[in-house]
């Protein structure tokens, strides 16, 4: 009897998840469908998902030829990787200090972190732009990466996770002769993989898709990141070239999805605090 109700629950769960997935996927379904339609087919009074005349090749060719997609993607990878590495290297020790060390400035830091979370880049873009111009670093990877070298989001996220690590674990590491940096690298980081993975996902997604900042600091197309490429398919006043736009969007989004598929395994291997008693 209980086995029966169990499977009923499972069917229900599966059904809910599938339904939700459909709803969440809907925009993508339309996107994929649109990417395969000829321009005249996109807007019509009847709703069809399957293109009447398959224009995938055409749209994708357009997407790839109109802009140098390879440069864009490469720039995206370089910028995202640089940003992520710096963010993690900077944020993790800081979050560790705030979470596990007696640190009187921790409270002040907390205020700063909150402030940092709230300050929109739109607001500080101008002063930063002026400063970067004075330093003559506009149109460079430095300009693209520097403002994001500090991620208050990362500090905040890691702080919450590190606080949940048992003190005994860290103290055992101290007794084993690890320096505080060593503890961060060898004990804290391996046990906070889910958090770091989550952050990696967010950081990469955010900066891969960021349109605002690259537009501000990059005028040389050699440093353009993927979303800048999308501009070439947009003609706000006169209507966009939707098919090519969707195709280009798909091309840009695909690497992210692939990266997520790899990263999400980390959630499965979540570490539970089994080395401890209590």
């Amino acid at each position: 009897m209980s086995a029966h109700s169990l499977s009923l629950g499972r069917i229900l769960r599966f059904a809910i998840l599938t339904l939700g997935a459909l709803i969440f996927l809907a925009p993508y379904i339309f996107m994929i469908s649109t990417a395969g339609k000829a321009q005249s087919e996109i807007f019509s009074s009847s709703l069809t998902l399957i293109p009447e005349q398959w224009s995938y090749v055409e749209n994708f060719t357009k997407a790839l030829s109109r802009v140098s997609m390879l440069t864009l993607l490469l720039n995206g990878v370089i910028v995202c990787a640089m940003i992520f590495v710096v963010q993690v290297v900077v944020a993790i020790p800081c979050a560790y200090a705030m979470a596990k060390l007696k640190f009187r400035a921790a409270r002040l830091m907390m205020v700063l972190v909150m402030l940092g979370l709230l300050v929109p880049i739109h607001a500080t873009a101008l002063p930063l732009y002026v400063a970067f111009d004075r330093l003559a670093v506009l149109n460079s990877y430095t300009a693209l990466v520097a403002p994001f070298s500090i991620s208050v989001f990362a500090i905040f996220l890691f702080l919450q996770f590190f606080r949940a690590l048992p003190d005994d674990l860290i103290q055992a590491a101290r007794l084993d002769g690890m320096s505080e940096i060593g503890i961060v690298a060898r004990v804290v980081v391996p046990n906070a993989w889910p958090a770091i993975t989550a952050f990696a996902i967010f950081s990469v997604v955010a900066h891969w898709n960021d349109l605002f900042w690259p537009l501000v600091v990059v005028s040389n197309q050699d440093y353009a990141t993927p979303p800048l490429g999308l501009l070439f398919f947009r003609a706000a006043e006169a209507g966009d070239d939707y098919g090519a736009l969707m195709a280009a969007t798909l091309i840009i989004t695909l690497p992210l999805v692939a990266a997520f598929l790899i990263a999400q395994k980390r959630f499965v291997e979540g570490i539970t605090m089994t080395g401890l008693k209590g």
Binding site: A38, Q39, S40, E41, I42, F43, S44, S45, R66, L126, Y129, D133, A136, L138, N139, L215, V216, V218, S219, N220, Q221, A224, L228, L231, F232, F233, R234, A235, A236, E237, A238, G239, D240, D241, L245
Partner: protein
Amino acid sequence: ETVLTVHYPMPGFFKDVMDTISKKFMEENPGIKITFANPSATYEEGIQTIMRQAGTAEMPDVTFIGLNRLRMVNERDIPVDLGPFIAKDGNMTEQGFSENILKLAQVGGKQVGLAFATSNPIMYYNADLVRKADGDPDNPPKTWDEVIALGGKIKALGDGVEGIDFRWQGDDWMFSALLFGAGGHMLNEDETKVAFNGPEGLKAIEVLDRMVKEGGLPVLTKQAGEQAFVAGKIGFAFQTTGALRNTIKNVGGKFDLRTAAIPLIDPVNGKLPTGGNAVVILTRDAEKQEAAWKFAKFAAGPYGASVVVPGTGYVPNNELAAKSPEYLANFYKENPLFRAGLEQMPRMIPWYAFPGTNGVKVTQTIVENLSRVVEQSATPEEALNDAAAEVESLLPRS
């Protein structure tokens, strides 16, 4: 070799045009090299970019700025005065730049640029729907009354079909079309008082109100209206001729697309605002300025127009281009849809730009009050008076 950095907005629209023009230009002027800066998505973003970059090493040498923003840019002393170059050339009319055309890109008498791609508002219509509603597609409505009546009939067809889409969102351009079409003005002569709340203005806004009440004008966002029209769900669409090429592509063979002149409240004295952009020279380097002037004339000249017009729907801002068979004469013969805009060219006057620091905000205020009419949350009088009062307060106090 002189290298010119050129910046332009709306790359989805202008990229091919720019590529073609610059290629040809470099062929003809081997000493000058054109490179493109990262384009901006919209006119607004383009201006922001320029404003930010003004005075920095990043500033491009040449850019393209929306006609209604020339005044603002000029107030900040960003564009180079082209007057001396014109004087030096001395034969602008011969090159196809008539006085009228030069005026489009003048601010307070100063030549801040050359109109590059210009547009005026026209009427698009779905001949199939017109036919269904017992209208004659070959003889489209000439007055707003006719439009509204036919629009009402089309809406009555049902099946989610709407009568009219009128591009009132975004800026005051289409309101200007109604206002100027009634012979009205935005401000008085010395730009100290609001003038759009006079009888012309009232007529203009009443037309909009009636379109909603009787003509089947739904509340749609800009994109939604456009999409519904190309999907064949709307009878009439009033918007820039610049969107023509795209509309043709989007419609494909779905229905019989036609264009016609936009009705004027005052068919005699009515004028139409000019949309589009002007090529503006930014560089302060004398040598570059020379090259830039060459490029500006080339882009705004007949060759430029012959590239811009077919690819977009803009009207030629160069008189040579329109008439010369070398350029566009044949094109117009073969593409009647493009003729509506061309024929309205004599009525084109500059798109009015408000003075003072709140210039842009003023247009927003007008749009917001229009939306109250479209949503029918205010009567035309209320909306107009509120708009007038608000705009009044935004004008520079002198």
